[in-house]
């Protein structure tokens, strides 16, 4: 079963614009991670935010976490055509590196050149 739900399901923007994607989840978490998946490829890890963190940055990525609302957002600034991909949020519920991830259904991002 899917833990998270991302919205929107699909997003189309112009190159240079910012893209904001949201994720909601149902149960308590230890970490929340965002992954990117290009067509026909595996998942690439983008960023991890822990349950005691509220915001994190990595390059053009900014992720926020609101545990009271059980939601997270991923912001990609100054988007590029190469950012076109599916984006997934994933949560785990146990401390340590041994926890299975529960994914949402994903958001399809299209960046028009």
């Amino acid at each position: 079963s899917q833990q998270g739900e991302e919205d929107p399901q699909a997003l189309s923007i112009q190159e240079g614009e910012n893209a904001t994607m949201n994720c909601s989840y149902k149960t308590s978490i230890n970490n929340l991670q965002w992954y990117r998946q290009n067509s026909g490829r595996g998942l690439v890890h983008l960023i991890l935010i822990r349950s005691n963190e509220r915001e994190k940055h990595s390059g053009r990525l900014r992720v926020t976490l609101d545990t009271s609302k059980k939601s997270s957002s991923l912001l990609i600034t100054a988007s590029r055509a190469a950012d076109t991909a599916s984006y997934f949020c994933a949560t785990d519920g146990m401390p340590g590196a041994n926890s299975k991830l529960t994914f949402g259904k994903g958001i399809t991002l299209s960046v028009r050149p």
Binding site: N31, Q33, G42, L43, V44, F88, N98, S99, L101, G106
Partner: protein
């Protein structure tokens, strides 16, 4: 360094055939996960190994699915008597004890005719 590798990348099987999918994790990673990703969906957890021990197989959909990691490195996911509903991308991920990030391989796309 080398990432997670999986083979074959593509597999076509006739219904009723047995298949074996291989995963080579990142060297030194003790945790190994298998996920199943249906078309248009997020990955769903199948099973987890810590070294050679299979600690969680709660996601395996039926007793036709079997996974092993006999020497604590390479893992094989075997599906017996394949059915059309087994068609999916099978993803393998590994992680180290010092971080919570799971690193994914490119996946094996299984098509059952």
């Amino acid at each position: 360094g080398a990432g997670v590798s999986q083979s074959p990348r593509y597999k076509v099987a006739k219904r009723g055939q047995d298949v074996a999918l291989r995963c080579d994790p990142i060297s030194g990673h003790v945790s190994l996960f298998w996920y199943q990703q249906a078309l248009g969906q997020g990955p769903e957890f199948l099973t987890y190994f810590q070294n050679e021990a299979q600690l969680d197989k709660s996601g395996l959909p039926s007793d036709r699915f079997f996974a092993e990691r006999p020497e604590g490195s390479v893992s094989t996911l075997k599906i017996q008597r394949t059915q059309q509903e087994d068609s999916a991308v099978y993803l393998c991920a590994s992680s180290s004890p010092v971080e919570d990030t799971q690193y994914f391989g490119p996946g094996t796309r299984l098509t059952v005719l």
